[in-house]
Symmetry: C2
Subunit: 336 residues, 2 copies
DNA sequence: CATTAGCATTCGAAATGAATGAGTGCTAAA
DNA sequence: TTTAGCACTCATTCATTTCGAATGCTAATG
């Protein structure tokens, strides 16, 4: 590809992102001060190479997936450090009063607003956290609340109903034993350990309503494994012209409501991942680009923020922004 | 309105609900064994009375809002006890293994599926519950988790960061005092009481990091006041023909995403409430009907389930269903 | 040899118009 | 009171046309 062809490709992407309509040779000839015929010749080459395409025989050109990829990986590669102008986001991160999760939420809201895309935050699951404390709080004579708290401050609770009368004395003993047994155990090992230890200790005899309690505990623990997410800005996206097709719109909404979106998001990638169009596997999303950017949390797990939008997306602005956000969220974890 | 006019109105509603298209005189003449001209005359009267309308000069008729209201309040009034045929729902309620909230969720899912509408469950807020226990669990030397548990087993937690080193001895004292102070206090009175008692007791001197802790506690309590909701079936609704208009579809999704839907839902009404079209105030919802059905929980608060769909809705089936569901959810509370 | 002017050509979008048919209101007869 | 009959209205559909923006190609130009 010649230098000029690269410039033309860049212009086609930039203009198409702005206008959402195929770009013709006349438009570019005005910008580049060469005749439209020259542009047409160059466009012909770019099309043969597969970087741009026509929507019909006599239409202007739009970038192909390959074109977008070249644009991202070669043309705007060096502009990455353009982190200027993110001051609305700086404001969010500099507000020290808010809790970490609250800050992330605000940043994601702002992200979706600023890009007119759907934004998603996938928190790290607490799978590798360790048990800090387990507790059982009686509510009525037959009901109690199970509480599990991890070393990172996550809390899960589960209500249990016991058919016999609750014996408070006994309960205290049980909880003391459970704490002794489970504190500092990684969440992922709890179920195993719980079963093993109970078989091999005197708790077995002690514990009248063992079955119920152990099962409920395991259920409470399993809630930690469910990754928490926050999704916002569905409605922003609806106004993008690519969703004028009502069928596409419906499919998109369904995909989100059925949580199929999570099949696409790249978790655990180092840095940033950009999936353009058919590069992602869910068919209803093959006109979309999904950008995921991961950050490390203190416990070795990764969290991810993602952005879903039409392939016609302002990559030049969005990619640095996604990197910027992941970096700052990671900082939030490091500060603690 | 004569008996026959009532029959014709009923048929128009029933047929229109099925077909989603204006009903002409020919259709009805075949059902009623009178000539189409007769039907036309009767339709003329019904239109003058405001019960039905035309979409254009030579179209068939569709029910007006007034027509739907008459249909609901007079024509199908007596069919209310048609609770037969809800056996999928019976199954959900008879599963005794599930927790209450889980059952409600399943019922709501099924409701939205069975009606192709959006269904919402608005749980009772815990405003009138009482504090069962408050607790503070240290996580690191500077961080702790605040826990609040109510007499109905609701749990809220909040992470706090304290700038000084945490003094465990002191913390235990503080928590004992707070428990003494707050146990059995209704959530709604906590904030007031907390401020008052601290002013008038020796805890004031005791508590080094009073500000932080008290503020965080109040924040944790305030979370109880936020009503919990569950919303499902947005995507079901998209396939209703009234949402072929893309503009309406967008407005609908926006309204839901921005939580404006909750402006419409009738909470605290006794029994069932049906708001048809312009009877509700949010403009983007004026082609929709919102049905809300409330139930009493044990602590005197009300919960509500709601159904949002096009005004062309199978009221004959949906209204008894909504009553049935509220009744059975109420039972779940009574059993405890 | 790269560039450009010129021209026939293609195709989508919007406008036009005719045919169709479902439905209506009204009138006069049964 | 009911019904047959008829003129009329209007949405829908489809083919046809027009318009304009773009293209590819060719031949002339610097």
């Amino acid at each position: 590809m010649t230098k000029r062809q690269e410039i033309i490709l860049k212009l086609i992407v930039d203009e198409y992102v702005k206008a959402a309509e195929p770009i013709g040779s006349k438009t570019l000839s005005e910008i580049l001060n060469v005749s439209s015929a020259t542009i047409r010749n160059e466009m012909g080459v770019l099309e043969d190479l597969g970087y741009i395409e026509k929507t019909h025989t006599s239409s202007g050109r739009i970038p192909s997936e390959k074109g977008y990829r070249y644009y991202i990986e070669t043309i705007i590669k060096n502009l990455d450090e353009e982190t200027a102008g993110f001051f609305e986001f700086e404001e969010v991160f500099s507000n020290k009063d808010n809790e970490r999760d609250e800050i992330i939420k605000e940043a994601i809201d702002l992200l979706s607003q600023a890009t007119n895309c759907t934004a998603i935050s996938l928190g790290p699951n607490a799978y590798h956290s360790k048990v800090k404390k387990v507790q059982l709080v009686p509510i009525t004579s037959h009901q109690a609340i199970i509480l599990v708290i991890t070393n990172f401050g996550y809390v899960e609770s589960k209500q249990i109903t016991i058919h016999e009368e609750i014996d408070t004395e006994e309960l205290i003993k049980v909880i003391d034993l459970l704490n002794e047994m489970l504190v500092d155990t990684p969440i992922s090992k709890v179920s195993e350990k719980l079963h093993y230890e109970i078989q091999h200790s005197h708790i077995k005899e002690l514990l009248k309503y063992r079955e119920t309690i152990v099962d409920s505990f395991i259920e409470a623990f399993s809630k930690f494994a469910q990754t928490k997410y926050y999704l916002t800005g569905q409605s922003n996206m609806l106004y993008q012209p690519e969703f004028n097709d009502i069928q596409k719109l419906r499919e998109f909404i369904s995909t989100i409501e059925n949580n199929e979106i999570f099949k696409i998001i790249e978790v655990d990638t180092e840095g940033i991942s950009v999936k353009i169009g058919t590069e992602n596997q869910v068919t209803s999303m093959q006109d979309c680009t999904v950008i995921s950017s991961s950050y490390d949390t203190v416990d070795g797990e990764k969290g991810t923020i993602s952005l879903v939008g039409p392939t016609r997306m302002d990559y030049r602005r969005v990619i640095p922004l996604m990197k910027y956000l992941a970096k700052h969220i990671q900082k939030l974890y490091e500060e603690e």
